[in-house]
Symmetry: C2
Subunit: 584 residues, 2 copies
């Protein structure tokens, strides 16, 4: 061992101890006759002191040569500091150095190793091993470890068994795009990397394992949106002989445990909301309920006058922005411009200021009187001093637009507090959703989700209306997990594939192993998966996942540190019976 | 929840309770007026009783229809059994059924769901979800979970932080063959799946994470020998500011903890042996030291007579087989045939029977007298009643042959007891080994292993003699882990690549990111990886890993259950800019 103590543990009680420390030079101050060095490791910072009067001249000389991020080992005596530093736990002491060894020199790092660094995202990713030395990243990784340990212990105590499922599986064109892996031993054939262990965990239920979990990497070859990664980590779970209520209880318990453990927050019972209600009230299936601004639908009280824009709209809907009646004309115009940006796509916005004394002032005063506007205020829940913002148009689109506006205002007004946690179950998701591009229905969750029994008769007549036994856990406006009660009999599974446009042959070829398994005694089962990267980020009060992943990829799916992906040797291609067909 | 209790928990104290159980029909006995059903789930078996006198006629009728592996739910009353079954924990009670629901029917399984099944390996793999219902496989998976939980908690308590490293990395032709993953977003380029997180864990040390571990899947595209898997799991660890001694201590502690926890065995200090000693004494770098039969080198006492076979041999070496002097001529001939099989490859074998009264009888009595043979007995440690078996030839080959014989005899004589655990550290491995095929030196562990400082000068003159700071943990004749102190400076790493036949450009292109990292303050570091699949199997007293993997692949790398790998769509190939060049 190169050290007797780490850089975070010495205290006033250790004074006079002879110690050996090792770590990185965070910084040094050279006053000529005295040199102070902040020595850093994962556990903290300890101040070293080299003093002409008490330190050997040769050691003194060597100390003067130390550069930032040099790796050194020192032996010395713990002494009480003259001027204490209350900001760090070791701030009462320093180590008077007797011996100094340079273990490794360091080039000047390309950015400062400080909490607030001068390095941009790109350079930090290229030198991620230096970036991780910074407290914000280091602490994110340590926090992630703590969360996963808690999750594992919590689930293990509930008799969940972690079982590793294979990474080299079979490609299924349904759903997102697979990463594939050519097989050398089976020429012309490919494995696929799992998008999730879905079918395997269901087979484990057929196998009688009863309660399964796995913290597992999953892969999707998608064009990356901001903050998506081609490889990501799931807390994947499945249970047998349960109903939806049982799953919600178990994972509500897990989430409650994490909130208590890491934030000392007690949340009794998580609220629940149907998908329909979430869409109507927040325009969103993952509403952030830390703040209000619930949607008020105004058709009944806004389509009786001569305002054609409203009269022709499928939906007129507004929100009351608290305290925003004081917004200037310029500020409101900026908001109107904001909703008209192509990313939001509204064609315009109506506003109503709820001024003091119960007076309303709106951009449509020409069409509506005070009595009309009072009704709008009532429906949107607007109070004196609030600002009502109203959008109209096709129902779904308008809800999405108003939801975007609500979230933007939530951010701007500081209503999305990072230390507040508002979990919410959204239930009763639709089974199917219409896909414009392919002109057919897709499974909203996946093809193994069971329809609600009472809705099955709608599959032929009104497929979009069939509700699924599917649920999402939403935390602070982020979907952190989702799952469903699965189909567990062959007939229903075949019916589902039929409605998803599979021929019986396609269904058999791709998922025959699962439907076959259902014929050998499959128990009722269901489960859920949490996105670990996001869960950890949100638990840490942040929304970007990148700092919670040691070596993330950029938006082109590249690891810029190791420079991957990269070309491979012709010999490798030959062995795999592959040729590249790039026409460039 | 479909049940109030599981099938393993009801006891005599539960008599008179109204309970609901769910599970699989293990078997049923129909006596006409009474039917007994063994209901099984992961937790155990509970006997159900349907009694004409006490059970509704309709339920009775339904019970008669139950087939093996049907999934059912029953409601009933716990009653005391008339004839108790002491073999199962629930054997004092049975459940008198009032209501019966068939949750799912089952086709007759293709093999019996019993501890000793009638199903062969192939059919069990195809229906692995049924195979896992059998206790031996189910318990193996549950045991694996317990071991991994212990490992995680043990290492976490020692401040090790589990950090996920990427699965989509860069191919490096050094070492075993990579599985590669074509990148759609970076046409013509490929990721590789990691053979181990080696470089990433070293970068985490450069990053200051100090103590890392990860239980992680690794991938090697090798022609599969028996009991190898293309994907396998490692307990991967790395530490900074340590020396070899520190790493051995930590992982000896972990192993000791597991042996104590799962077998209540206390092993104080693990023995250590150098690689040279292991090869000389056991002909093997992973000796099973649960039994003796150490090698005795006989050159000095066997090359002084007219026996040309011995005189011309580089090495004459023997072992004393305890109590085997009683072997018949036929048995000994069979052993001679065994060592002459091509898999072993010896050209012959000499034997000496150590008979009672201090008399020796050998197959070379023509050449050697009793005094000679007494010396052989002394050197091999043979006692009265033992049989000395002697091979000769080129030193390395002969040692390997004698080692194979020793292991075979250890098995035959029952000396390799599954409930005995004999760990051993093998240290001071050679840095390089000569590869006949490529005509150059390869790294025996990997190119990042540091040479012993005192041997570096031999790199140019006698590379095969350079010892590495490398060590293996051996348990019962199996290598369960290995590791090394790493190189942590660019100059030594460059020197190493040079001796492995890399041009500076190749080294830079493939491992530039690591050597670059070493220039920014790399701490001294080292680590180790345990093979989890094997560790778990050996801890369970078994040597084949397949039952400890939920969904293993066969020797052609196929998952016969899901039928992977498989061809993919032309559209997928096109998107990846790939063509298959099979000439067939």
């Amino acid at each position: 061992m190169y050290r007797s103590h780490n850089c975070g543990e010495l205290r006033i009680a250790d004074v006079n101890k002879e110690v050996t420390l090792a770590g990185w030079v965070q910084k040094s101050r050279d006053k000529g006759f005295m040199i102070w060095v902040d020595l850093r490791d994962r556990y903290g910072i300890t101040q070293l002191i080299f003093d002409e009067a008490r330190t050997d001249a040769q050691v003194m000389q060597l100390a003067k040569s130390l550069g930032r991020e040099y790796v050194i080992q020192v032996k010395g005596t713990v002494i009480e500091r003259e001027s204490k530093n209350n900001n760090i736990p070791t701030g009462d002491i320093e180590v008077l150095v007797k011996e100094l060894t340079i273990l490794n020199e360091a080039q000047l790092p390309p950015f400062t190793i400080e909490d607030e660094t001068d390095g941009g995202e790109d350079i930090r990713m290229k030198y991620r091993y230096l970036d991780i030395r910074r407290n914000p990243v280091k602490n994110s990784l340590l926090f992630r470890h703590k969360v996963t340990q808690e999750v594992r212990n919590y689930l293990s105590n509930l008799d969940f068994c972690e079982i590793e499922t294979p990474y080299l599986i079979k490609s299924t064109p349904e759903g997102a795009r697979d990463f594939v892996v050519p097989s050398r031993m089976n020429p012309g054939q490919f494995y696929a990397l799992p998008q999730s262990p879905q079918t395997f965990k269901q087979l484990l239920m057929v196998a009688g394992m009863d309660r399964y979990f796995q913290i597992v990497k999953c892969f999707r070859d998608e064009d990356l949106r901001a903050d998506r990664q081609p490889e990501f980590t799931q807390i994947d779970c499945e249970m047998s002989f349960i109903e939806q209520e049982d799953i919600l209880n178990v994972f509500e318990g897990l989430t409650r445990h994490l909130l208590k453990k890491f934030h000392n927050i007690d949340i009794d019972k998580f609220p629940r909301m149907t998908y329909d209600e979430a869409m109507r009230t927040y325009g969103n299936d993952k509403p952030d309920i830390r703040f209000g601004m619930k949607f008020g639908e105004l058709n009944a009280v806004a389509q009786h006058k001569d305002f054609a824009v409203f009269n022709n709209a499928e939906l007129v809907v507004g929100i009351a922005v608290p305290g925003a009646a004081s917004f200037t004309r310029k500020e409101i115009d900026a908001l109107i411009d904001w909703v008209k940006r192509p990313q939001v796509g509204a064609s315009g916005m109506v506003y109503v200021k709820c001024e003091t004394g119960g007076h309303y002032k709106s951009s449509v005063d020409k069409f509506y009187d005070q009595e009309d506007l009072a009704k709008w205020a009532e429906i949107t829940g607007a109070k004196e001093g609030d600002l009502i913002l109203i959008l109209c148009g096709p129902a779904n689109k308008t809800r999405t637009q108003l939801s975007a506006l609500r979230m933007e205002l939530g951010n701007r007004l500081g209503l999305r507090k990072p230390d507040e946690f508002a979990p919410l179950w959204v239930v009763d998701f639709p089974l199917l959703e219409w896909d414009e591009e392919t002109g057919r229905y897709h499974a909203m969750h996946h093809p193994f989700t069971s329809p609600k029994r009472e809705d099955i008769h709608l599959l032929d007549t009104d497929p979009g209306k069939v509700r699924a036994n599917a649920y999402d856990l939403v935390l602070n406006g982020n979907e952190i997990g989702g799952g469903s009660i699965r189909i567990h009999d062959k007939a229903t599974q075949e019916l589902m594939f039929k409605h998803l446009g599979f021929t019986p042959e396609q269904a058999q070829q791709q998922f025959g192993f699962l439907m076959n398994a259902f014929q050998y005694g499959a128990p009722p089962h269901g489960g859920l998966a949490f996105g670990l990267d996001r869960l950890v980020a949100i638990l840490a009060g942040q929304e970007t996942i990148r700092d919670f992943i040691a070596f993330p990829k950029n938006n082109s799916g590249r690891d810029v540190m190791i420079d991957a992906p990269a070309p491979i040797d012709q010999a490798q291609l030959d062995e795999l019976n592959l040729a590249i067909t790039l026409k460039d």
